[in-house]
């Protein structure tokens, strides 16, 4: 295994790095190994996870002074992660059994935050990751989740913090009956740049997945959503879908949505779609006719649009945390 910085720099022809290059998201010069402060974890036990051949994961692994493990057995946990200093990073391993939930809030005012999450799911796990780092920060997040036999993962991300964010989320459905419901909601304003890459791999057959990403972009903000759905050879009976929707709230806002499919099995269902549009005028008229001002109507439409990315999340506690996080963020935007 090659460790950073021996791993070759990635090409921008690779869809993962097309929009936010390694050079752009790196906290210093790419050949440097900067000193990093540890992310402060509200709980968890000391742990070690392996290095990776992938450049971003290996980089975070190489500079991170801390790695924690959370073990869940039929329980719900709130985990707060706080970054501080110029550069801050850490690793996290989540292991779950039975019916469990975890809400991970990432906050802090580091110039740059790197977070690597690995997860192993047996049973049913519902996860909310809420990015609410300060508006001048950059965030690099790399996830690897494995979903075991007859197990399900609800993986919801609310991305409202930071100035430049890159998330590389990978989920492997590794045994028959494993299921993923992935929802991502991103809200951009000012010059925020939010880049999500999601890879879902159906390693074996009779596995199911859905990915919904909703991004609303205001001012001169930008959202990028790239998906890669891989259905491996022999994974017959897989059922997968991915949908990307963008809501453009200003003329300067930009949103890219690029779903991708790599299907090597014969008997599968694999659907994908993408759409970008401004706020629907009929929705505005309808809400205005109920007494809501134009701003109130527009705000409610954005709130609903973003929450709709989580329509497959069934766990009420996780949904409540996501809704609270979103409402706080929208209130802060209005009140400045």
């Amino acid at each position: 295994m090659k460790n950073y910085p021996l791993i070759p720099l990635p090409s921008r022809s690779d869809s993962l790095w097309r929009y936010t290059s390694w050079k752009k998201i790196h906290p210093s010069e790419v050949e440097e190994m900067p000193k990093s402060n540890p992310i402060i974890y509200s709980r968890g036990e000391e742990f070690q996870i392996d290095d990776s051949n992938e450049i971003a994961r290996s980089f975070i692994h190489s500079i991170s002074p801390v790695c924690k493990k959370i073990s869940l057995v039929n329980e719900g946990v709130n985990l707060d992660l706080e970054s501080s200093g110029d550069i801050s990073s850490g690793e996290l391993f989540v292991e779950s059994r039975g019916d469990s939930t975890i809400t991970i809030r990432i906050s802090g005012d580091s110039t740059w935050t790197g977070l690597r999450i690995n997860g192993d799911v047996t049973g049913n796990l519902s996860v909310a990751v809420i990015n609410e780092i300060s508006e001048n920060s950059n965030l690099l997040r790399c996830d690897n989740w494995k979903v075991n036999r007859n197990s399900s993962l609800e993986l919801a991300t609310l991305s409202v913090g930071g100035n430049l964010n890159k998330s590389d989320i990978r989920v492997e459905l590794k045994s028959k009956g494993s299921d993923l419901r992935c929802g991502i909601a991103s809200n951009g304003s000012r010059r925020r740049n939010d880049d999500h890459h999601i890879e879902i791999e159906h390693t074996v057959g009779y596995t199911t997945s859905s990915l919904v990403m909703h991004a609303s972009c205001n001012d001169a903000s930008r959202s990028i959503g790239t998906g890669m759905l891989k259905i491996c050879e022999g994974a017959d009976g897989s059922d997968a879908g991915q949908v990307f929707r963008n809501l453009l709230l200003s003329e300067k806002a930009r949103a890219e949505a690029i779903p991708g499919l790599e299907v090597l099995a014969d008997d599968v269902k694999a659907a994908h779609g993408a759409a970008s549009a401004p706020v629907d005028k009929e929705q505005l008229f309808y809400l205005s006719s109920r007494g809501l001002s134009l701003q109130e109507s527009s705000s409610l439409i954005v709130e609903g649009f973003l929450m709709d990315a989580f329509r497959h999340v069934k766990n009420p506690d996780v949904l409540l945390n996501l809704r609270d996080g979103l409402l706080n963020h929208l209130d802060n935007l209005i009140t400045g």
Partner: protein, 246 residues
Amino acid sequence: MGGELLSVNDLHVSVEGKEIIKGLSLTIKTGEIHAIMGRNGSGKSTLANVIMGHPAFEVTSGSVEFNGTPVEELEVFERARAGMFMSFQYPSTIPGVQVGTFLRKSVSAVRGEDGPNAREFRKELKSHMKSLNMDKSFLSRYVNDGFSGGEKKRLEILQMLLLNPTLALLDETDSGLDIDALRVVADGINSITSTAGCLLITHYQRLLDHVKPDFVHVMIDGKIVKTGGADLAGHLEARGYDWLEA
């Protein structure tokens, strides 16, 4: 009957350069129920949308006054807060917004400081939902998302009851309703007519069997060509519209 609530005077309306309403006048007083009937495309829904303030329609001449105020001076939400309500033929879907949240925000916006507190709101809501045979599970669903035609119309009437308007514009509220649902919706309409004026847009006599109009107007090609009492709807049901064009 009460004072003049809505006054439409020689109204002309265009959309994308095409004239839809071609000189229409109508006055509604508090407590009156006016029914407008007519073929598809005669301009009925356009009239309701213009009164409510839909931005796609351009008033090229004439006027609409609500309680003596020209409505052109009011934004859509200001018309709603002034007591105007429109039940939509095709209500918009608002994904991600729960019905309960939407109703609370709407009631708060329209009824303001005179509106119910949280406890009173829940009580009112429960009472109206019971009268409309609506299950409380409605409240956690997203607005009109996946609703059947009948469910959408019930939600429209629920909003009307909660917002307690002085003028209700009901655009084909009877379409998509089975007989039982029609009766429930009609009861809802009847419950507000003592304190409100009502403009019912409909194709069919059947709603008017339950909600008795004071006036029935027939619209053809953007104009009211005939006005009569409740019995006019029966004539239209039996004879159609051709005899009015002769």
